[in-house]
Amino acid sequence: MKFIVSIVLIALLSFAACLYLPWWSIAIVAFMVAALIPQNPGKAFLSGFIALFLLWGRLAFVISANNEHLLAHKVSVLILKMDSPYLLVFVTALIGALVAGLAALSGSYLRKA
């Protein structure tokens, strides 16, 4: 239950924070949620990881689909050197997930420290 709550909380708060704050506020959100909700480090990491993977993945996918992937075709060639909108969405999700996961891991260590 804590696991699910953590995921939902990190995702919702990250979305809200990014309306006003820089993108890396997702790290602060994940860190704080993990520090407040006691979980073992592995689960904490996973909750941050999954939360942002789903949040960023979904946001990017919906935006890109509405755009008929026009921009993602171009930017994927630019950044990934291959024309793959889905890979760009995946990379986006992965980056958010890694940052939030690691931040949540740190948060859980803070609690246990």
């Binding site: 820089p22 946001l59 990017a60 008929e68 940052v99 891991l105 260590y109």
Partner: protein, 810 residues
């Protein structure tokens, strides 16, 4: 015991965030870029994007309604002129902000601020050309004029209203990719943009190249290669026109043709605009059209870029109502029409930039020798900011001629230079170019047009005009220096006033045509007048497009809009019409192998059109190129690197009138005197090698060989449009080259209800993530047009209106 893991994981997280937020480790700040709520995803405009908005600004005086149609063309209805320019500035910024800033940064010599020291040579060159200096002078002049000052102020306020309210997430994509933020707009930036156009259109000269050519060749050869007049010239103002005696007479110094041409070559490498800034415009009078009303056509040819130089819009106030192509970066409609008349431009192409060699007293450059005395220099310190590096300070000396562009410290990089060259450029003189567009937008008749165009000093343009009352006109307009014959073709001594420009051609002596008997006016950058015109016009003009346009227009009657579309997109190669017989008559077929023979057959059966799939156009192009090399390479073998090559017409006219044209002989072979047949045959053999390669690569068809592309200003490949299947070429009316071509095609039929068509190779949005980014390109490639909709009050509910933006005072 969790402190250690905490420190480790917190450190890793921090390092990861910093890495993903900067370009220190990765080439792009991936976290920042890919964050769906901040980065590039925010620029992925929804296919059904909603542009409706209600905006309030304290700067507005009244209400402004903007109706965006299905092509994203804004139709702006304002209650007063200040508001219309405010909204124009706002909309330009909304759709083209990054482009506007990049162009003005480039113009100001500030590119290094954005892209680092690889732009330093460009920045120094532009500052030494005095671009900032010229823009400051232009701003002073414009702001003396209360009408233009108000217009510029309102425009600037509009751009800044957009920038101020721009959240970081909505920053144009390019700012995010390159990593910087927009700065505020200013009237100076508008002037910088206009000076950028002056640079593009009125900065081409070959003074160093011509000086070297004059030193290298003897007089007879030089005159053959660079003739003062071309045999087949059909000037803008028809031959035979009688001109009055000139009011200004420039006197050539006694030494003008002699002593100055001794000495070693001048090895300077200049950054130069494309000299083939071709363009066509014409107007046919009602006597030649089916409707009985005049039709005006214009297609300015410029470098093809994305976002496009142009932005289409309608500006409407109780005092004027104009539609057409506008410049993101400047107020008014530039090429277009209003309720009474239509107007357009082609480049005047005359030499208004000359170099003078300055004799400084010593290395401090504080004084220079002029008219037998030491004269004091002014200095302007140029502080060039460089991304990631300390500022670069460049002290530029200003003389009576203008800035000393080249000296020991800056020669463009070919060879070290120990001389000082000041540049005299017409764009440095005070003038108020925005006035012409303001007045043309308001113009009701020929008198208004005539009063408007005299405000255009630099870049000089051939201004075409047509009016609903039936008038048509064309002026080769500009404030042109009155030069003695040959003045400014070569670098001149800067030690005495006799070499200076001695005056300007009075405005009433500028060549013009008003309702001519032949029923049309036209220009295609050819020489404005023949040798009976009493002022020196320079020697280098393209002549073939003009020839064809005049030929076709003369033959046409009962002209329709469709006829004009066909003419504007015409791919007939009139140059090949004259040159191909030379090849076919002289090639020694018996010396060709099977492949070479096959290419000859393709050339023989070619219909002379540079159409998309024509292989003959490719064969002709390559054979002509090789022929030029075969004829001239030996003559140029020992020449300096920086030297003028012959005008394209020189060789053709040379062999047409003299089959024993002296350059045909290969100077490197002493035993034999090569003939036209030898050279043509050799050219064929050389061409075949290149043609074979093209054929193997599947690129023998003309459009594939030519490879027209439209580059994004960053040249980042995914944002470019490449391999466009479009015909045309240098000598065709449809002068579409690799990255150069008709940047806006417009046809206006001035019937009771104006009927107008237009297209440009781009799209209204500058955002590569928008479906409006390049949506006009296919239409342009296909030679098709969009009907231009001059919206009227009462049409607010027309089905073409897709979105509405209301502006009001807050």
């Amino acid at each position: 015991m969790r402190i250690l893991p905490l420190i480790i994981s917190a450190t890793i997280t921090t390092v990861l965030v910093i890495t993903l937020n900067s370009t220190l480790v990765l080439p792009a700040p991936l976290g920042k870029l890919l964050s769906p709520q901040h980065g590039i995803w925010q620029n992925a405009e929804s296919a059904d994007a909603d542009f409706n908005a209600e905006l309030k600004f304290p700067q507005l005086k009244g209400k402004v309604q903007v109706y965006l149609d299905d092509r994203l063309v804004p139709h702006v209805f304002a209650e007063n002129e200040d508001d219309v320019y405010f909204v124009q500035g706002y909309l330009h910024a909304k759709f083209r902000l990054w482009q506007m800033e990049l162009q003005t940064h480039a113009a100001a010599g500030r590119a290094s601020e954005i892209i680092g020291d690889k732009a330093l040579a460009h920045d120094r060159e532009f500052r030494r050309l005095g671009m900032g200096y010229a823009a400051e002078i232009a701003q002073k002049e414009a702001e003396k004029d209360p009408v233009i000052k108000a217009e510029c102020d309102a425009y600037t306020a509009g751009v800044n209203a957009y920038i101020t309210n721009l959240p970081e997430s909505e920053l144009p994509l390019e700012y995010k990719l390159i990593g910087y933020l927009p700065e505020k707009w200013s009237n100076l930036k508008t002037m910088l943009f206009l000076k950028y156009m002056s640079y593009d259109l009125a900065a081409h000269e070959d003074d160093f190249e011509m000086t070297n050519a004059k030193r290298f060749f003897n007089k007879e050869d030089f005159d053959k290669l660079f003739p003062l007049k071309q045999d087949s010239l059909d000037p803008i103002i028809p031959a035979g026109t009688v001109y009055a005696a000139p009011k200004v007479q420039a006197k050539a110094p006694a030494t003008a043709d002699s002593i100055y041409f001794a000495g070693k070559p001048l090895e300077l490498q200049e950054e130069k605009p494309d000299k083939e800034n071709g363009s066509n415009n014409w107007a046919v009078s009602g006597s030649k059209t089916r409707t009985g009303s005049p039709i005006l056509c214009n297609d300015p040819h410029l470098g093809l870029n994305l976002p496009s130089l142009w932005f289409e819009m309608q500006l409407s106030t109780p005092t004027f109502n104009a539609y057409g192509a506008t410049f993101p970066g400047a107020p008014s409609v530039i090429i277009g029409y209003n309720d009474s008349c239509a107007f357009g431009f082609t480049n005047g192409g005359r030499d208004v930039r000359d170099y003078y060699e300055i004799q400084f007293k010593d290395d401090t450059r504080k004084e220079y020798w002029f008219d037998s005395a030491w004269k004091k220099t002014d200095f302007r310190v140029e502080r060039i900011k460089i991304k990631g590096k300390p500022d670069y300070l460049d002290t530029v000396a200003y003389t009576i001629f203008g800035p000393v562009m080249y000296d020991k410290s800056f020669s463009g990089g070919v060879a070290p230079n120990d001389k000082y060259y000041a540049v005299r450029w017409k764009a440095h003189d005070p003038s108020n170019e925005l006035r012409i567009f303001n007045e043309l937008n308001h113009a009701k008749n020929y008198a208004d047009y005539s009063a408007a165009v005299v405000n255009l000093h630099t870049p000089g343009q051939n201004c075409v005009f047509a009016c609903k009352n039936g008038d048509i006109a064309l002026r080769a307009q500009g404030e042109w220096p009155a030069k003695w014959k040959g003045q400014g073709d070569f670098v001149m001594p800067g030690t005495d006033s006799s070499y200076m420009w001695q005056g300007m051609i009075p405005m009433d002596e500028v060549p013009f045509q008003y309702n001519p008997e032949r029923g049309f006016v036209s220009s295609a950058n050819q020489k404005p007048a023949d040798s009976t015109y009493p002022y020196y016009l320079g020697r280098n003009y393209p002549l073939y497009r003009g020839l064809l346009i005049n030929k076709r227009l003369s033959a046409m009657t009962d002209i329709t809009v469709d006829d004009m579309m066909a003419l504007q997109t015409n791919n007939y190669n009139i140059f090949a019409e004259e040159a191909r017989p030379v090849f076919l008559k002289n090639v020694q077929e018996e010396k060709l192998n099977a492949d070479e023979k096959r290419y000859l057959d393709i050339l023989k059966s070619w219909n002379l059109n540079n159409d998309v799939n024509e292989k003959g156009a490719t064969v002709f192009e390559v054979v002509w190129k090789k022929f030029t090399e075969v004829v001239f390479d030996d003559d140029y073998k020992l020449s300096p690197e920086v030297i003028m090559h012959p005008f394209e017409s020189s060789l053709l006219e040379g062999v047409l009138k003299d089959s024993a044209y002296k350059f045909l002989d290969d100077r490197l072979t002493t035993k034999k005197l090569e003939t036209l047949a030898d050279d043509v045959t050799l050219a064929f053999k050389k061409a075949s090698e290149e043609l074979k390669q093209a054929e193997t690569a599947g690129k023998l068809e003309w459009a594939k060989y030519k490879g027209t592309r439209i580059n994004h200003l960053t040249k980042l490949d995914p944002f470019n449009r490449t391999d466009l299947p479009i015909g045309g070429g240098t000598h065709c009316i449809n002068a579409t080259k690799e990255t150069h071509g008709p940047s806006w095609r417009m046809i206006v039929s001035l019937t009771a209800t104006t009927e107008a068509y237009g297209v440009y190779p781009g799209g209204q949005s500058g955002n590569p993530g928008s479906r409006f980014y390049d949506n006009f390109i296919d239409q342009w490639v296909a030679g098709k047009y969009f009907p231009l909709w001059m919206m009227t009050k009462g049409e607010e509910n027309d089905k073409r209106v897709k979105w509405k933006i209301s502006f009001s005072r807050s």
